[in-house]
Protein backbone atom coordinates (compact mmCIF):
# COMPACT_ATOMS: atom_id res chain seq x y z
CA UNK A 1 0.00 0.00 0.00
CA UNK A 2 1.34 3.42 -0.90
CA UNK A 3 2.35 5.60 2.04
CA UNK A 4 1.72 8.92 0.31
CA UNK A 5 -1.65 10.07 1.72
CA UNK A 6 -2.53 12.09 -1.38
CA UNK A 7 -1.96 9.15 -3.75
CA UNK A 8 -3.81 6.84 -1.38
CA UNK A 9 -6.74 9.24 -1.09
CA UNK A 10 -7.03 9.67 -4.86
CA UNK A 11 -7.00 5.93 -5.38
CA UNK A 12 -9.65 5.32 -2.72
CA UNK A 13 -11.81 8.13 -4.10
CA UNK A 14 -11.59 6.81 -7.65
CA UNK A 15 -12.46 3.29 -6.53
CA UNK A 16 -15.37 4.59 -4.46
CA UNK A 17 -16.63 6.65 -7.40
CA UNK A 18 -16.59 3.65 -9.76
CA UNK A 19 -17.58 0.94 -7.31
CA UNK A 20 -21.31 0.78 -8.08
CA UNK A 21 -20.83 0.91 -11.86
CA UNK A 22 -23.10 3.93 -12.33
CA UNK A 23 -20.46 6.10 -14.09
CA UNK A 24 -19.74 3.19 -16.46
CA UNK A 25 -23.43 2.70 -17.20
CA UNK A 26 -23.66 6.43 -17.95
CA UNK A 27 -20.64 6.26 -20.25
CA UNK A 28 -22.08 3.20 -21.94
CA UNK A 29 -25.40 4.92 -22.61
CA UNK A 30 -23.60 8.03 -23.85
CA UNK A 31 -21.50 5.98 -26.27
CA UNK A 32 -24.52 4.09 -27.57
CA UNK A 33 -26.44 7.32 -28.17
CA UNK A 34 -23.38 8.81 -29.91
CA UNK A 35 -23.10 5.69 -32.07
CA UNK A 36 -26.76 5.92 -33.01
CA UNK A 37 -26.48 9.58 -33.91
CA UNK A 38 -23.34 9.07 -36.00
CA UNK A 39 -25.02 6.20 -37.84
CA UNK A 40 -28.16 8.28 -38.37
CA UNK A 41 -26.08 11.14 -39.77
CA UNK A 42 -24.61 8.73 -42.33
CA UNK A 43 -27.65 6.85 -43.51
CA UNK A 44 -30.32 9.56 -43.47
CA UNK A 45 -30.75 11.64 -46.65
CA UNK A 46 -28.58 14.75 -46.73
CA UNK A 47 -30.22 17.85 -45.23
CA UNK A 48 -33.31 15.86 -44.23
CA UNK A 49 -34.96 16.92 -40.95
CA UNK A 50 -33.74 13.69 -39.38
CA UNK A 51 -30.14 14.24 -40.35
CA UNK A 52 -30.20 17.86 -39.22
CA UNK A 53 -31.74 16.82 -35.92
CA UNK A 54 -29.04 14.14 -35.46
CA UNK A 55 -26.29 16.67 -36.17
CA UNK A 56 -27.73 19.25 -33.79
CA UNK A 57 -28.23 16.72 -30.99
CA UNK A 58 -24.69 15.38 -31.49
CA UNK A 59 -23.17 18.84 -31.52
CA UNK A 60 -25.15 20.59 -28.77
CA UNK A 61 -27.01 18.12 -26.58
CA UNK A 62 -24.53 15.26 -26.27
CA UNK A 63 -21.67 17.40 -24.91
CA UNK A 64 -23.95 18.36 -22.01
CA UNK A 65 -23.32 14.86 -20.71
CA UNK A 66 -19.88 16.00 -19.66
CA UNK A 67 -21.40 18.61 -17.34
CA UNK A 68 -24.38 16.59 -16.17
CA UNK A 69 -22.84 13.17 -15.58
CA UNK A 70 -21.25 13.76 -12.17
CA UNK A 71 -24.17 15.69 -10.62
CA UNK A 72 -26.59 13.08 -11.96
CA UNK A 73 -24.64 10.16 -10.48
CA UNK A 74 -24.40 11.99 -7.13
CA UNK A 75 -28.13 12.67 -7.19
CA UNK A 76 -28.99 9.02 -7.91
CA UNK A 77 -26.72 7.84 -5.12
CA UNK A 78 -28.05 10.28 -2.53
CA UNK A 79 -31.67 9.62 -3.51
CA UNK A 80 -31.72 5.83 -3.91
CA UNK A 81 -28.42 4.33 -2.80
CA UNK A 82 -27.65 6.22 0.40
CA UNK A 83 -27.86 3.19 2.65
CA UNK A 84 -25.53 1.14 0.45
CA UNK A 85 -23.10 3.73 -0.88
CA UNK A 86 -23.04 5.97 2.16
CA UNK A 87 -22.99 9.75 2.27
CA UNK A 88 -20.10 11.89 1.12
CA UNK A 89 -19.67 15.55 0.32
CA UNK A 90 -16.82 16.00 -2.12
CA UNK A 91 -14.47 18.95 -2.24
CA UNK A 92 -14.59 21.08 -5.42
CA UNK A 93 -12.28 19.37 -7.89
CA UNK A 94 -9.96 22.12 -9.13
CA UNK A 95 -7.57 19.53 -10.54
CA UNK A 96 -10.29 18.07 -12.78
CA UNK A 97 -10.96 21.40 -14.48
CA UNK A 98 -7.24 22.05 -14.88
CA UNK A 99 -6.61 18.60 -16.31
CA UNK A 100 -9.55 18.91 -18.70
CA UNK A 101 -8.21 22.20 -19.98
CA UNK A 102 -4.76 20.66 -20.44
CA UNK A 103 -6.26 17.78 -22.37
CA UNK A 104 -8.22 20.14 -24.61
CA UNK A 105 -5.10 22.24 -25.24
CA UNK A 106 -3.08 19.15 -26.18
CA UNK A 107 -5.83 17.94 -28.52
CA UNK A 108 -6.14 21.35 -30.15
CA UNK A 109 -2.44 21.30 -31.02
CA UNK A 110 -1.81 17.63 -31.74
CA UNK A 111 -4.81 16.76 -33.88
CA UNK A 112 -4.33 19.39 -36.61
CA UNK A 113 -0.62 18.55 -36.76
CA UNK A 114 -1.27 14.84 -37.21
CA UNK A 115 -3.86 15.51 -39.88
CA UNK A 116 -1.49 17.88 -41.68
CA UNK A 117 1.30 15.36 -41.52
CA UNK A 118 -0.80 12.66 -43.14
CA UNK A 119 -2.39 14.92 -45.75
CA UNK A 120 -5.78 15.12 -44.10
CA UNK A 121 -6.36 11.38 -44.25
CA UNK A 122 -9.74 10.91 -42.69
CA UNK A 123 -9.01 7.31 -41.76
CA UNK A 124 -6.76 8.72 -39.03
CA UNK A 125 -9.89 9.74 -37.19
CA UNK A 126 -10.50 6.16 -36.06
CA UNK A 127 -7.16 5.32 -34.45
CA UNK A 128 -6.90 8.80 -32.97
CA UNK A 129 -10.32 8.49 -31.38
CA UNK A 130 -9.40 5.03 -30.17
CA UNK A 131 -6.10 6.28 -28.77
CA UNK A 132 -7.73 9.18 -26.96
CA UNK A 133 -10.43 6.94 -25.52
CA UNK A 134 -7.83 4.38 -24.50
CA UNK A 135 -5.78 7.10 -22.82
CA UNK A 136 -8.73 8.38 -20.81
CA UNK A 137 -9.90 4.88 -19.83
CA UNK A 138 -6.35 3.87 -19.02
CA UNK A 139 -5.70 6.88 -16.80
CA UNK A 140 -8.97 6.52 -14.92
CA UNK A 141 -8.54 2.77 -14.61
CA UNK A 142 -4.93 3.08 -13.48
CA UNK A 143 -5.69 5.73 -10.86
CA UNK A 144 -8.45 3.53 -9.42
CA UNK A 145 -6.51 0.29 -10.04
CA UNK A 146 -9.56 -1.11 -11.82
CA UNK A 147 -8.65 -3.61 -14.51
CA UNK A 148 -12.02 -3.56 -16.25
CA UNK A 149 -11.65 0.15 -17.03
CA UNK A 150 -8.14 -0.28 -18.40
CA UNK A 151 -9.27 -3.30 -20.41
CA UNK A 152 -12.03 -1.18 -21.94
CA UNK A 153 -9.43 1.28 -23.15
CA UNK A 154 -7.30 -1.46 -24.68
CA UNK A 155 -10.33 -2.94 -26.44
CA UNK A 156 -11.27 0.49 -27.78
CA UNK A 157 -7.80 1.05 -29.22
CA UNK A 158 -7.65 -2.40 -30.79
CA UNK A 159 -11.13 -1.98 -32.30
CA UNK A 160 -10.23 1.44 -33.69
CA UNK A 161 -7.05 0.13 -35.33
CA UNK A 162 -8.87 -2.85 -36.85
CA UNK A 163 -11.60 -0.59 -38.20
CA UNK A 164 -9.03 1.86 -39.60
CA UNK A 165 -7.28 -0.98 -41.46
CA UNK A 166 -10.54 -2.38 -42.78
CA UNK A 167 -12.59 -1.12 -45.71
CA UNK A 168 -15.43 0.07 -43.48
CA UNK A 169 -16.32 3.72 -44.22
CA UNK A 170 -14.85 6.02 -41.56
CA UNK A 171 -18.06 7.32 -40.04
CA UNK A 172 -19.66 3.87 -39.99
CA UNK A 173 -16.46 2.73 -38.29
CA UNK A 174 -16.88 5.51 -35.71
CA UNK A 175 -20.44 4.36 -35.07
CA UNK A 176 -19.21 0.79 -34.60
CA UNK A 177 -16.41 2.00 -32.32
CA UNK A 178 -18.72 4.00 -30.06
CA UNK A 179 -21.36 1.29 -30.16
CA UNK A 180 -18.97 -1.47 -29.13
CA UNK A 181 -17.58 0.68 -26.31
CA UNK A 182 -21.08 1.51 -25.21
CA UNK A 183 -22.03 -2.14 -25.02
CA UNK A 184 -18.83 -3.02 -23.16
CA UNK A 185 -19.32 -0.37 -20.49
CA UNK A 186 -23.04 -1.09 -20.15
CA UNK A 187 -22.13 -4.72 -19.52
CA UNK A 188 -19.28 -4.09 -17.06
CA UNK A 189 -21.20 -1.30 -15.35
CA UNK A 190 -24.29 -3.47 -15.08
CA UNK A 191 -22.34 -6.36 -13.57
CA UNK A 192 -20.63 -3.99 -11.13
CA UNK A 193 -23.99 -2.52 -10.14
CA UNK A 194 -25.54 -5.95 -9.53
CA UNK A 195 -22.55 -7.04 -7.45
CA UNK A 196 -22.73 -3.79 -5.49
CA UNK A 197 -26.44 -4.27 -4.78
CA UNK A 198 -25.93 -7.90 -3.75
CA UNK A 199 -22.97 -7.11 -1.49
CA UNK A 200 -24.19 -7.68 2.03
CA UNK A 201 -21.55 -5.42 3.69
Amino acid sequence: MTKDPKVLANRLLQRAWNRDGLPEIGSGLFSLVAAGLIYAMQILPRRSPGQIAAILIFAFVLPLYGFCAQPLVKRIRSRWLLERAGYVQHLPNRNLKRNNLRLLAVMAVVMPLVFLAFNYSERLLLPMTGALGALICGLVGWSARMVRLMAGGAIMLATAILLALSSVPVMIGMAILFGSQGLYYLLTGGVAFLRFMNDER
Binding site: D4, P5, A16, G86, V88, H90, L91
Partner: protein, 85 residues
Amino acid sequence: MIHEPARLMVVALLSAVKEADFQYLHRSTGLSKGNLSVHLSKLEEAGYVAIKKTFRGKYPLTICRLTERGREVLENYRKVIRAAL
Protein backbone atom coordinates in the same frame (compact mmCIF):
# COMPACT_ATOMS: atom_id res chain seq x y z
CA MET B 1 -0.95 7.55 15.39
CA ILE B 2 -1.80 7.96 11.70
CA HIS B 3 1.04 5.84 10.36
CA GLU B 4 -1.02 2.75 11.17
CA PRO B 5 -2.29 1.58 7.74
CA ALA B 6 -5.99 1.48 8.55
CA ARG B 7 -5.97 4.89 10.24
CA LEU B 8 -3.86 6.32 7.41
CA MET B 9 -6.51 5.16 4.92
CA VAL B 10 -9.29 6.77 6.94
CA VAL B 11 -7.44 10.05 7.46
CA ALA B 12 -6.26 10.19 3.83
CA LEU B 13 -9.77 9.62 2.55
CA LEU B 14 -11.26 12.24 4.88
CA SER B 15 -8.60 14.72 3.77
CA ALA B 16 -9.83 14.41 0.18
CA VAL B 17 -13.52 15.10 0.97
CA LYS B 18 -15.44 17.68 2.97
CA GLU B 19 -17.17 15.04 5.07
CA ALA B 20 -18.25 11.41 4.77
CA ASP B 21 -20.42 9.08 6.75
CA PHE B 22 -19.49 5.79 8.41
CA GLN B 23 -20.99 3.64 5.65
CA TYR B 24 -18.99 5.46 2.94
CA LEU B 25 -15.78 5.03 4.92
CA HIS B 26 -16.61 1.38 5.61
CA ARG B 27 -17.17 0.60 1.91
CA SER B 28 -14.29 2.70 0.62
CA THR B 29 -11.60 1.46 2.99
CA GLY B 30 -12.73 -2.17 3.10
CA LEU B 31 -12.38 -2.19 6.89
CA SER B 32 -14.92 -4.12 8.91
CA LYS B 33 -17.47 -2.03 10.79
CA GLY B 34 -15.99 -2.97 14.17
CA ASN B 35 -12.44 -2.21 13.08
CA LEU B 36 -13.44 1.11 11.53
CA SER B 37 -15.39 2.08 14.63
CA VAL B 38 -12.35 1.46 16.85
CA HIS B 39 -10.05 3.50 14.61
CA LEU B 40 -12.50 6.38 14.34
CA SER B 41 -12.83 6.46 18.13
CA LYS B 42 -9.06 6.69 18.51
CA LEU B 43 -8.84 9.43 15.88
CA GLU B 44 -11.66 11.32 17.55
CA GLU B 45 -9.95 11.05 20.96
CA ALA B 46 -6.76 12.41 19.43
CA GLY B 47 -8.71 15.35 18.01
CA TYR B 48 -7.99 14.49 14.37
CA VAL B 49 -11.55 13.59 13.38
CA ALA B 50 -14.85 15.19 14.37
CA ILE B 51 -17.91 12.92 14.44
CA LYS B 52 -21.48 14.11 14.26
CA LYS B 53 -24.58 11.91 14.42
CA THR B 54 -27.58 13.11 12.46
CA PHE B 55 -30.46 11.90 10.27
CA ARG B 56 -31.38 12.22 6.63
CA GLY B 57 -35.09 11.53 6.73
CA LYS B 58 -35.30 8.34 8.75
CA TYR B 59 -31.80 7.20 7.85
CA PRO B 60 -29.21 7.74 10.61
CA LEU B 61 -25.90 9.22 9.51
CA THR B 62 -22.63 9.22 11.42
CA ILE B 63 -20.75 11.99 9.66
CA CYS B 64 -16.98 12.23 9.99
CA ARG B 65 -14.84 15.21 9.13
CA LEU B 66 -11.12 15.79 9.42
CA THR B 67 -10.30 18.59 11.87
CA GLU B 68 -7.68 21.29 11.29
CA ARG B 69 -5.41 19.46 13.72
CA GLY B 70 -5.93 16.30 11.71
CA ARG B 71 -5.00 18.07 8.48
CA GLU B 72 -1.84 19.49 10.06
CA VAL B 73 -0.77 16.09 11.31
CA LEU B 74 -1.43 14.53 7.92
CA GLU B 75 0.51 17.24 6.12
CA ASN B 76 3.46 16.77 8.49
CA TYR B 77 3.32 13.03 7.92
CA ARG B 78 3.28 13.58 4.17
CA LYS B 79 6.35 15.82 4.36
CA VAL B 80 8.22 13.19 6.35
CA ILE B 81 7.32 10.45 3.86
CA ARG B 82 8.30 12.56 0.85
CA ALA B 83 11.61 13.45 2.47
CA ALA B 84 12.28 9.81 3.17
CA LEU B 85 11.50 8.61 -0.40
